[in-house]
Amino acid sequence: MVTKEEIMKIAILSKLFVADDEIDGLTEDMGKIIAFADTINNAADEGTDFDHINHLSNVLREDVVVPSLDREKILANAKDSDEGCFLVKNIMK
């Protein structure tokens, strides 16, 4: 059974706020979903090792510099930027 405390902890890890009036409904919904997910733990099947669909392996190439995206264009989508950089509130005092 999933508890409110667990949901609050997961919310912190997910960088989400859960409002007081949402927590009960969310805990109930998550409880149902996780109970459903839990059905796989009753599976008699141990499973089969899975690497990747189509068994792909890494494709290597020479490390050659190619044109990339334009800095001004990238920054145009940011709400705040300054001197060619993304702007955030200071992290260290």
Binding site: I33, I40, N41, N54, L69, I74, N77
Partner: protein
């Protein structure tokens, strides 16, 4: 106009029976008239559409030949990046986001002068089965606007089924192309994982996501698939189409083809849907194909495996939305952490937050082995089970959805019940296989029923061939009353 298929419209353009600008304008006028009812488009691009159309007309005036998709009006789901055109994923968190590069699929089509009419509605971040999780409100079903178009590519299906575009591209992570195509009475194909580049598709669950065509008929799906299935160095999982263009074998005889029906696919499916699929099997028999029944017990794991793995990948993929580099940013906050939390909590809708939380839960310390690792192993079991099945049949026949389109606002409130509607579509995404949905009947209310043809890896040619033969023999498709009059 008496033609709505790509090849027919192409001939009309070449024979100068209609100009590309007239054709495009007809679709723009229909959008103006009908989008209020269908809510299929969230962004219209009339200026660039008419500009491309004018370029195609100039080519034709100079006597130059044009490609099959050149000048054909189409649409893209709003999670496919379009340079300079707003791409929102129908989420508040990306409401004003304008990509600065094209998705590879759009680059390929743009180079062929495809006429983009606009971007279409979807469940937020492709999470949902009704299109009602869109921040713009849901797209409506062109067969009855009191019903949903399905999801998550509901806008594309509504636009194509409502004749507000000749074809469109959607994305399919757990059924998001096939399910709305089924609900709207049209064709939708999810290609093999890796056949179509995912570069520029805004990620939901990267090991499941695949772009594919939504069309009114099987031939158009084959034409569009041939155009977009190319190896792309920008997608590390890209392999491209394996083999010759699928259009070449589309109309081949299917005598002796073995179609498998897994009994588990028919469990819990509504009676009228099951009967429609059984009738389709009869049509196949009359075409000389063989129907073989088999058991696929691993199917019972498919739905929990899908939701565990897809949400785990989503929780990681959606970590990038922090308000710093693009998208919505909270107005007032105390520090960076507070800003990120407020941005995400306000910017994401309820379903998206729920899936991020579930994904974070199954990946968190103490739960990883029981959920994520176990689900990954059962994914391996499902891959082997399907691989075994294809030793005794060429393709698998199944319902696309256990029911038909539900009424607006009636998506079940219980979260698990809602997820159960995806039971027939998710196995294909878990295993990376190709699947196509084609219309196979109508329920008592006149809402379309769809069936699914599933193939082995990179065998799109086989499922399209089987789909075309059925479509041609059964003649189920009925155009809706909306859009450009045919």
């Amino acid at each position: 106009m008496s033609e709505s298929k790509i090849a027919g419209l192409h001939r009309m353009l070449e024979n100068k029976e209609i100009s590309c600008q007239e054709l495009t304008q007809a679709y723009l006028d229909a959008m103006e008239r009908d989008n209020g009812s269908l809510n299929a488009y969230v962004t219209a691009t009339p200026e660039s559409a008419l500009e491309t159309a004018a370029a195609v007309d100039e080519k034709l005036a100079r006597g130059e030949s044009i490609g099959l998709l050149e000048g054909i009006p189409m649409t893209l789901k709003d999670n496919i990046s379009t340079d300079g055109i707003r791409t929102t994923c129908c989420s508040k968190i990306l409401e004003n986001y304008v990509p600065i590069y094209d998705a590879t699929v759009w680059k390929l089509l743009r180079q062929q002068n495809a006429v983009l009419l606009g971007k279409t509605n979807m469940d937020e971040f492709a999470m949902g089965s009704s299109c009602e999780n869109s921040c713009f409100g849901g797209a409506k079903n062109p067969h009855n606007v009191n019903h949903v178009a399905g999801g998550s590519s509901g806008g594309v299906a509504s636009a194509v089924g409502g004749h507000l575009a000749v074809y469109g591209l959607g994305s399919d992570t757990g059924g998001s192309i096939r399910q709305p195509a089924s609900f709207c009475g049209i064709v939708g194909m999810k290609p093999t994982y890796g056949a179509v580049s995912r570069y520029g598709l805004i990620a939901y669950a990267s090991s499941f996501d695949q772009i594919g065509p939504i069309t009114t008929n099987v031939e158009d799906a084959a034409i569009v698939f041939d155009a977009i299935s190319a190896y792309d160095e920008m997608d590390s999982t890209s392999q491209g189409r394996q083999g010759e263009p699928v259009c070449r074998t589309l109309k081949n005889d299917i005598k002796g083809m073995k179609l498998g029906i897994a009994r588990e696919y028919l469990d819990g499916v509504r009676d009228d849907v099951r009967q429609a699929v059984e009738q389709a099997a009869e049509v196949y028999r009359s075409l000389g194909a063989e129907i073989v029944f088999f058991d696929l017990p691993a199917l019972k794991y498919a739905l929990p495996v899908y939701y565990i793995l897809a949400c785990a990948e989503a929780s990681s993929n959606l970590g990038r939305y922090d308000g710093i580099r693009y998208g919505y940013k909270a107005e007032s906050y105390s520090d960076v952490n507070d800003m990120i939390k407020k941005t995400r909590s306000t910017g994401f809708g309820e379903e998206v937050k729920k899936r991020i939380l579930l994904g974070t839960y199954v990946l968190s310390s103490g739960y990883y082995d029981a959920y994520y690792k176990k689900a990954q192993k059962l994914r391996g079991t499902l891959v082997s089970a399907f691989s075994d099945a294809f030793r005794s049949c060429d393709v698998i026949l199944a319902p696309t959805v256990p029911m038909t389109a539900f009424e607006n606002g009636h998506a079940v409130s219980d979260p698990v019940e809602t997820y159960l509607t995806d039971i027939c579509t998710v196995p294909v995404n878990i295993t990376g296989l190709p699947g196509i949905s084609v219309p196979c009947g109508y329920d008592a209310k006149g809402m379309p029923i769809g069936m699914q043809i599933i193939g082995n890896s990179f065998e799109e040619a086989k499922i399209l061939n089987a789909a075309w033969q059925y479509e041609n023999a059964a003649r189920i498709y009925k155009p809706s009353d909306f859009g450009v009059k045919l």
